[in-house]
Symmetry: C2
Subunit: 337 residues, 2 copies
């Protein structure tokens, strides 16, 4: 039943109990078993539901978590959100999802919207452009958890993938197969994840004392079209790479399309490692090797940390959770010739 | 600024005006220009923001629209939502997005959640399983607009694609190229869109007096894996179709993967029409012919109808908006041999 009709007074009248008792019951307080049954029966009969808005004003709790994303049309984020919701739902929390459309001004507005909805906590994939808004929210006592991206100038709980070492391991795997010219398609360098993924590429080259050919590094925008175009650029070089590492899902799709179009034979002509184990990757032939970010784990860790913070437990603040990725190695990686 | 600090009393004290005047200003009422300036200055200086929750209790308006989807990880729905948000945002409306995860019980809970958040209106992609919940919401006076799917047993505004005639036109286009054995991969028949798309396939056969071979009709689940598997089934028939029509985006992706894997030459070996003009379709080679549902138009029409209903204008209720799809014809369609 969703329609608010009966009031708490009606329930009190019906049961002959005090409003205080009914109120205690509704808010999860201790009530005699006998009264509990009577109240529940009256609530059902009267079709009474708590007006969450009125309730929020009294208890200052809305049992609602706000989630702000840069792009609702990005499966990586929506997969994480789905997992967060699964966990929170079991604890009776609802979620308000907002999309700030990669627009910095809108990011601020959406945060303001969530605060005005009196959410008990906020999950944010930050644009990274500014932190003042966020600082104010934290100072007001609303728990905030950042996901996917770290912000350097603020103390805040964060849950993200270990982007640096995922890249390190991916490129190292190609090295061990004899590849020395590894092309990489990275994201915009002002973005935390992109910067970290490139750093891993650099570091592993350094550790192996392999010189980097900067022509092998292509800067995309994390969208499919750029993966497609930059992959073609790499393969049309005079001295093309023998292996390519593509550092996000959308750009990987673009690269796969280029591979099909160009009739490239994997792994005979080229070895390839892509990113994120989504639906599409699963039906490719040959199967693609991929860095698998722990989306479920990111979602679960975030939800559990949220529940902890909302319960008032602020131990280990700020909690930095840098979760390891897996590398699924398939026959898309061959020996360098 | 998002943090609620100053109260309306502080603004009254600061300006020397009455609380009634400040309140009128805040709620958009008529206030002398002179006072308007003083109040605005005080609001800015005091960093005063309206507590939306408290405000909602008084005015019964939260300037918030709730949107409930069956699947947050489906680009067709999130694209429509993005458009709805764009339009509503210009009118100062916020949106609460909910995912009911194709779970009928959760659909009811999410609707309840939205009602408890005192949204001014609701947009719903209905599961189609039950309408009582919805009827109660409508009776309570909250405007609801259904998108993508029509519900037969309820009077409600609805905005959807013309699924029947899109399919009719797609298959007819194949007929005009001489194809008589057209395979079709459809969705689950208890789903409105799937039922309509199959109906179009039947009707055009009837109008051309072409007999239907029921083996050419494959029932999928609107997910990629089923598109992949069913496409392979069709092509492995003793008497395979010369053209295939795939009736949603995810299943089209699956079919494309099967095409690549099987090394099928489009259009020499087979003609194909897919569904929805998303990112992926754009980078295929050869370009895929697709039925293009008017996602932007669905979003825009929904948002405008929402604004109309929220303003109290109930003319032409229930408003059934059945929007035409486009058919993009590329060289993925060849002449039957």
């Amino acid at each position: 039943m969703v329609i608010i009709s009966a009031t708490i007074k009606d329930v009190a009248r019906k049961t002959g109990l005090s409003i205080a008792t009914i109120s205690k019951y509704i808010n999860g307080g201790n009530v005699l078993d006998k009264n509990r049954e009577i109240i529940q029966a009256a609530i059902e009969e009267l079709n009474f539901t708590v007006n969450e808005m009125a309730r929020g004003l009294k208890t200052n709790k809305t049992r609602t978590v706000g989630i702000a994303l840069p792009d609702l049309n990005n499966l990586f984020f929506t997969s994480i959100v789905s997992k967060i919701e699964d966990v929170l739902l079991k604890d009776g929390y609802g979620t308000i999802i907002c999309d700030y459309k990669q627009d910095y001004d809108l990011e601020k507005k959406k945060l303001e919207f969530l605060v005005n909805k009196s959410v008990d906590a906020i999950v944010l994939v930050p644009s990274g452009k500014e932190v003042n808004e966020l600082r104010e929210i934290l100072e007001s006592g609303i728990p905030v958890i950042l996901i996917d991206r770290l912000l350097k100038d603020i103390e805040c709980d964060v849950v993200l993938g270990d982007n640096l070492n995922s890249s390190y391991n991916a490129v190292e795997t190609l090295f061990t197969k004899g590849h020395k010219r590894v092309g990489v398609i990275v994201g915009p360098q002002e973005m935390y994840t992109a910067e970290q993924r490139l750093k891993g590429y650099y570091r592993v080259h350094e550790d192996y004392s392999f010189k980097i050919d900067s022509n092998l590094i292509k800067y995309g925008d994390y969208r499919m079209d750029s993966g497609y175009a930059l992959f073609k650029e790499l393969l049309s070089m005079d001295d093309p790479p023998t292996a390519v590492y593509v550092t996000n899902y959308e750009m990987t799709l673009g690269a796969v399309m280029a591979i099909n179009e160009m009739g490239i034979n994997i792994p005979d002509d080229l070895s390839i490692i892509g990113f994120d184990n989504m639906e599409l990757i699963r039906v490719l032939n040959p199967p693609l090797s991929v860095v698998v970010q722990p989306m479920e784990k990111i979602g679960e860790t975030t939800a559990k940390l949220l529940l902890k913070r909302m319960s008032g437990d602020n131990s280990n603040f700020p909690s930095i959770n840098r979760l390891k990725s897996d590398l699924i190695v398939t026959k898309s990686i061959g020996k360098a010739k």
